[in-house]
Symmetry: C2
Subunit: 168 residues, 2 copies
């Protein structure tokens, strides 16, 4: 099984992304980066910029699965509302590109990747670098996205193991 | 001056739209309708359906301006969060289609169209039908969108009158 997974950490100013390949159960890093929207632009224009840039990412990597952080509404309803716009744009383009969209809570991803749901972004980066044999992850904004892609790969592997166990 | 204005009332289940032409200060109804997303579909797929359907609306009417309801976050943060996704998709496609995006608060639109900020949807419909010489407005969901398009046309007319006054 060869699968392309694109993890996305959406934001209305900075959107991180990370791409991994899963080849016969082995996770390989492909690329990661950020889409930055100009702060001086009005909000609707930023959504157009985000969508257009994300379409380029979709076209380049052609992911089978797109993984987005699941949001729990906290105290800051206003920033969650803004974030919702960016998530909508990502979901739309992911679907247009034929990908299946999955959502995971950050806590599950951190726990799955580092062993602790309360791990810091820096902890996540250290583990990811070791796991994917990377010297650097260019932006901290991209490491959450990369972590999501890896976590989804783990979940798929677990599922595949379960399926094999059932079919024995 | 001939201008196409598309009003949109976004929703993650039903999105209303209304199109008017402004020709030499006269507002003419072009069309109105709703985009309905299947409730059985998962949320990300609904965003893809919404965006694709809205792109068809953009392609068909080629609006110069797209007008969206401005949201004030009330008690229901969860529905505002969902609505944010739909708004993001609309803003993205509106920008892709080359339109300028404007936002107005519902209260301003109702006051501008009916004279009262507290007018009911039904009141808005009655006034719109009279104003645009329509026998019916097929869906109540579309009348808010149509009201937004008309209100924006009023605002542009006010602006044009002011500009003329200044240049005298």
């Amino acid at each position: 099984m060869s699968l392309v997974i694109l993890g996305v950490d959406p934001g209305s100013r900075i959107t991180g992304f990370g791409v991994v390949h899963v080849n016969n159960g082995k996770i390989e890093h492909v690329n990661h980066g950020v889409i930055m929207m100009e702060a001086t632009q009005d909000f609707p224009s930023r959504m157009t910029e985000l969508g257009s840039a994300f379409r380029e990412v979709m076209d380049k990597y052609k992911p089978h699965h797109v993984v987005i952080e699941k949001i729990f509404l906290g105290k800051n309803a206003d920033s969650a509302f803004k974030l919702g716009h960016a998530r909508g744009v990502i979901m739309y383009e992911a679907g247009l590109g034929g990908a299946i969209v999955k959502e995971y809570a950050t806590r599950s991803v951190k726990k799955g990747v580092t062993g602790s749901g309360g791990a810091s972004k820096e902890d996540v980066q250290v583990i990811l670098k070791a796991m994917l044999s990377l010297k650097t992850i260019s932006r901290i904004d991209a490491s959450d996205a990369l972590a999501m892609a890896c976590y989804h790969a783990f979940e798929l592997k677990k599922l595949a193991t379960l399926q094999r166990a059932v079919s024995l």
